[in-house]
C-alpha cells in the first residue's frame, strides 16, 4: 500500500481565524506542525523548511464535518468511490465525512468497516468515519454486532436508505448501542404510508400526477423513535429532518431533556417541491422536497438549536439512472460541493448568523458524533477550510468533483467559495490551482 505523508506542517499567513465554540475570531497567522496547530495569532517562530501559504485575508474555519454521505464503495463504484467522494468533500470544505452503510456488501461487519478505513487512508484527502448498519443486511431483523463495529472504527449506526424497520428493533438498537456510546441514526419514514410515493404529497404532486409522500410519513416515525428513546435512553439522531411537524417533535423532545440530535440538509432549507416541476429527477430525493412552511420551519429549527447540524445526504447516482421516468429514477442528490454555499445563503439572507452556520457544519457534528475534529485550538488537529465569502459562482458541471452530477443546483448562482482545504496539516484542495493538490 502506498502510504501517504500523514501529517503536514505549514504557516498560513493573513487569515481571519474563526471558531465560534473556541471563541476564536482574530486575524493573523497560524502555524501547523505535524498535523496539529502549534500557534496562531501573531506567530513569531518559523521553523526552517516549513512552507508558507498566503491566506489573502480569507476566513479560516474548522473543516466541515458531514455526518451523512454515501460514498458507494464497496459495490457501487460507478456512482462514487471513496476517492471521488473524498475529492468532492474537500472541494466543499469538508475534512471529515461519515459514510453510510448501504454499500454492497453492507457495512454490517467489522471487515467491511476496516476495508473502508484502509481505503480512505490510502486516498488520504479527508477523514472517513464509517457508519455501521443497525441490522444485518439492512433487513430490519437482526441487530448487527455493534460493539465489534464500534471497535473496528464505526462512529454511529444506521440502516439509512431504509428506516429502522420496527419500534422493537429501534428499542433494541438504542439499548444495545449504549455499550458503544454511539448514536443510532434513523431515516424516519413509514414506508406503508409513503406507499410508493415519489415526491412530496401536496398540490404539486396532485397537479403533476405523481404519487405523494405525506409529511406524516416522516412525522409518525420521528414520534415513534422519540417515544422509544424515552423508554430506553441511548443517543437518537434524526437524519435529514424535512418537515414542520418533525421540527416540532424534536423541539419538544429536547425540551423534555431526551438525548436526541437532528440534522437537516441544504436542499430542505433551500428548495421546495415546486422545484420538481423544473428540475425533474435531480429534485427527487427521500425525504422529498417539502413545502414552503416546512422549509421555513427547518430554518427556524436551525436557528433556535432544534436542529443540531447540517449534513449533506450526498447520494450520487449515475446519469443513466437519473435520466429516466421520474417515478422510476432513484432517490438522492449530491451535496458536498454545494453545502457551504447554500448554508451561507441563509447567512446572507439574515436567517442565520455566520457563527451558527459554522457551528452547524463543523463544531456540532464533530461534538455530537464524538469526532476529534471541528475546532481551531492549539494542539488540535489541523483540519480547516479557507473561505472567500465575497465570491459568487454559477454551479456548472465542472464545479463538481463527485463522479456523479445529480444536483438540483446545476445552473444556480451561489455565494461563498471554498478556496483551500487542509486536512491533517496538508493542503488537500486548492481552488487557485483549480485542481486537487498532489498528495
Amino acid at each position: 500500500m502506498h502510504q501517504r505523508e500523514q501529517r503536514g506542517s505549514f504557516l498560513l499567513r493573513n487569515v481571519r481565524m474563526f471558531d465560534p465554540v473556541q471563541k476564536v475570531d482574530q486575524t493573523g497567522d497560524i502555524l501547523v506542525m505535524d498535523g496539529r496547530v502549534r500557534a496562531f495569532g501573531v506567530v513569531e517562530e518559523l521553523p526552517p523548511s516549513v512552507p508558507v501559504i498566503e491566506g489573502n485575508r480569507g476566513l479560516l474555519v474548522p473543516g466541515f464535518v458531514d455526518v451523512h454521505a454515501h460514498f458507494r464503495e464497496p459495490g457501487f463504484e460507478y456512482k462514487e468511490t471513496i476517492e471521488t467522494g473524498s475529492r468532492a468533500a474537500v472541494s466543499g470544505g469538508f475534512t471529515s465525512v461519515c459514510v453510510m452503510a448501504n454499500t454492497n456488501p453492507v457495512n454490517d461487519h467489522p471487515g467491511v468497516t476496516r476495508e473502508m478505513i484502509r481505503k480512505a487512508n490510502e486516498v488520504g484527502l479527508c477523514r472517513i468515519f464509517p457508519i455501521g448498519a443497525v441490522s444485518i443486511g439492512l433487513k430490519g431483523e437482526t441487530l448487527s454486532e455493534m460493539v465489534s463495529l464500534s471497535e473496528a472504527g464505526c462512529v454511529a449506526f444506521s440502516d439509512d436508505g431504509l428506516p429502522v424497520r420496527t419500534a422493537k428493533l429501534m428499542r433494541r438498537a438504542l439499548e444495545y448501542s449504549i455499550m458503544t456510546g454511539l448514536p443510532v441514526i434513523d431515516h424516519c419514514e413509514d414506508r406503508d404510508l409513503s406507499d410508493g410515493g415519489v415526491m412530496n404529497e401536496g398540490w404539486v404532486s396532485t397537479t403533476l400526477g405523481l404519487k405523494g409522500i405525506p409529511n406524516a410519513s416522516e412525522d409518525v416515525v420521528i414520534a415513534r423513535d422519540i417515544e422509544v428513546l424515552r423508554l430506553t435512553g441511548g443517543h437518537l439522531h434524526i437524519a435529514h429532518l424535512s418537515t414542520e411537524g418533525g421540527v416540532r417533535l424534536v423541539r419538544q423532545a429536547k425540551k423534555d431533556g431526551l438525548p436526541v440530535t437532528a440534522e437537516t440538509c441544504p436542499h430542505y432549507f433551500s428548495l421546495t417541491d415546486e422545484c420538481v416541476r423544473h428540475h425533474h429527477t435531480n429534485a427527487k430525493m427521500n425525504p422529498p422536497l417539502r413545502q414552503e412552511a416546512d422549509r421555513k420551519a427547518v430554518i427556524e429549527g436551525l436557528a433556535d438549536g432544534t436542529i443540531d447540524m447540517i449534513a449533506t445526504d450526498h447520494a450520487p447516482h449515475a446519469s443513466h439512472e437519473k435520466e429516466r421516468e421520474f417515478d422510476q429514477a432513484p432517490f438522492g442528490i449530491i451535496g458536498l460541493e454545494t453545502a457551504f454555499s447554500l448554508g451561507y445563503g441563509l447567512v446572507e439572507r439574515g436567517d442565520l448568523s455566520l457563527e451558527r452556520l459554522i457551528c452547524l457544519m463543523s463544531n456540532n457534528p464533530a461534538h455530537h458524533f464524538s469526532l476529534p475534529v471541528g475546532e481551531i485550538r492549539v494542539g488540535g488537529l489541523a483540519d480547516f477550510a479557507l473561505l472567500d465569502l465575497s465570491r459568487r459562482q454559477t454551479v456548472q458541471n465542472d464545479f463538481f468533483r463527485s463522479k456523479s452530477r445529480n444536483s438540483p443546483f446545476l445552473g444556480s448562482v451561489i455565494g461563498g467559495e471554498v478556496q483551500k482545504t487542509f486536512m491533517d496539516g496538508r493542503l488537500v484542495f486548492d481552488r487557485m490551482q483549480d485542481k486537487e493538490v498532489e498528495r
Partner: protein, 323 residues
Amino acid sequence: MNLPPPIHALEKKHLLSISDLSVPEIEGIFQTAESFLDLSSRSVRKVPSLRGRIIVNLFYEASTRTRTSFEIAGKRLSADVINITTTQSSVVKGESLLDTVRTIEALGADGIVIRHSSSGVPQWISSQVNCHVINAGDGLREHPTQALLDLFTIQKRKKRLSGLTVAIVGDVLHSRVARSNIAAMQMMGMKVRVVGPPTLIPREAKQWGIDVFHSLRDGLEQVDVIMLLRLQLERQASGFIPSIEEYSRLFGLSPEKLSWAAPDAIVLHPGPVNRGIEIQGEEMFSERSAVLDQVHHGVAVRMAILYLLMAGGRPEEENRAPA
C-alpha cells in the same frame, strides 16, 4: 365539400398537456374535428394530408381504444402508422425509454404518440427528440386528447360548453382523464365538481377551484353532464375502498340515480366500462349515454390534432383539410 382553412393552426410542436392550449386553439381543434367527422360517412375515407409521414404509436401501457383511435386517425390522414407496444419491442430486452425514443426518431418517425405509466414522460421525451410528441396518457397526469374528445362530445350534445355544470364521479386521485378534463372544462367556462370517496379524491382537490362531494345524490344535483371514471379493480386490493360492492352502491350510476341530475343530463365514460360497477342498467338510459359518441368523436378529434400539429409547412394543396 370545401372547408374553410382552420382558423387556428396549432403553432406548436407537441401536445403534452391541456394547459399547452388556449381557448381559441381548442375551438380550432373542434372546428377541424367537425370537418373530419363527415369523412367517415363518405366512400373514400382518407385525406392525403400526412401522406409519407410516419407516426409511431408507442404504448407502454395496455390500451385498445386510444391506440386504435390514434391508428385510424393517422391512417385516415394517409400517414404510415406503426404500433409499438412494450411486449413486442426491445423494451423487454431492457432498453431504456430514452434509447427507444431516440431510436424511433432515428428510424425516421415524424411523430410519436406515447402512452406511459409514468407521469411526465411525454414532457420529458419532448425535450429529448426533434419530432412531434403527442401525449396519449401519462401516468396519473394528463390525457389531453381524451379531454378534448370529451368536450367535443359534450359540445355536440349540449350545443355549448360555457355555463354547464359537470360532475366527475369516481377515482379522481388516480385519473389522468379527470386531471385533463378539469383543466379543459374550466378553460371552457364549465363548472366542475368531483364526487367520490375521500380516499379517491386528492386532498388538495379544492385548489383546482372545484367542489368536492362525497355523496352522489348531492353531487349530481342540477348537473348537466355526468362523467364517470373507470374504477381500477386493484384499488380495492390496495385498500382505497373496502369493497367493489359498496363502491358500486354508493357511486355507480343507475337509472334511478340519474334522476338526481338535471332532466337532460348526459353521461360520459372514457371506457372501458366496468358494467355493473360504474354503470348499472345503462340500457334504461341509452339515449342519455354519450359513451359511443365519445369513441366516434375520438377519431375525428385525434385527426384534427395530428393534422393541426403535423401538416403545417406542407404544400398548399396538400395542406388542406378534406376537400
